[in-house]
């Protein structure tokens, strides 16, 4: 069976490759951030806003974009204490604004 990858999956896989490559060969990449658009490396730089602006010029649909932060420690597990978050099914008035926006 053939499965077709979405552009998001292709970008993510390329992002993983770029990250590993940037760790091994930092001199190959000019900057901390590497921008990917439509499955191809499109731009890079040290300023995240500039990289994203450059990406959006190439592809306005942000779902088709991906940014690799080459300095990120992907093995680090981030902790947010659950001690006082009552994470449970929410009644309608407690729901986040995006849920209410989409319901309208």
């Amino acid at each position: 069976m053939t499965t077709t990858k979405t552009i998001e999956e292709i970008n993510r896989e390329l992002g993983d490759q770029v990250y590993e490559d940037a760790k091994r060969n930092p001199e190959k990449y000019a900057g901390r951030y590497i921008g990917i658009a439509n499955g191809e490396v499109a731009c890079s730089g040290d300023d995240l806003s500039e990289v994203i602006t450059g990406l959006k010029k190439k592809e306005p649909d942000t779902r088709k974009l991906f940014v690799v932060d080459t300095t990120r420690d992907l093995k680090k597990v981030l902790r947010i204490s659950e001690t006082w978050y009552a994470l449970r099914p929410l009644v309608p008035e407690e729901r986040p604004a995006c849920d209410r926006d989409n319901a309208n």
Partner: protein, 131 residues
């Protein structure tokens, strides 16, 4: 110096940020101001609903593993955030999660709050930020 202060929400510290959707419409989101969420060296600033990230220009970046309240591997986004009262406009990193604490649209974590001077500024019913 620019200063912004918000009333506590359900007795919890809250801040308001503005996100911009694809049509240019600005949406205000109320976030729990949680200095205990993450640390100064963490790799993200905010926890937002993943729909908010996707619908407000968030660009995918490497996903982030989270333990505790939001256990699992979550998508992360570089997203443009404003706090108009402070004249603050920055690209920050948000973790997109499918569920949130009641009454809030997300969490402002320590790395984000630590960009400002923060506190109650002598008003025990409020939380404020100053640049």
């Amino acid at each position: 110096m620019p200063f912004a202060r918000w009333s506590l929400k359900n007795d919890r510290p809250a801040i308001e940020i503005t996100l911009t959707d694809a049509s240019g419409q600005k949406k205000t989101r109320t976030l729990l101001a949680d200095t205990g969420a993450g640390d100064a060296q963490d790799q993200f600033d905010l926890v937002l609903h993943m729909l908010d990230c996707a619908q407000h220009g968030g660009v995918f970046t490497q996903s982030i593993s989270v333990s505790g309240a939001f256990i699992g591997n979550h998508p992360a986004f570089d997203i443009y955030v404003e706090i108009p009262l402070l004249g603050y406009r920055e690209q920050v990193v948000a973790v997109g999660v499918p569920y949130l604490p009641p009454d809030f649209d997300g969490i402002a974590c320590f790395r984000f709050l630590n960009r400002f001077t923060y506190g109650n500024f002598s008003d025990k019913n409020a939380f404020g930020l100053e640049t």
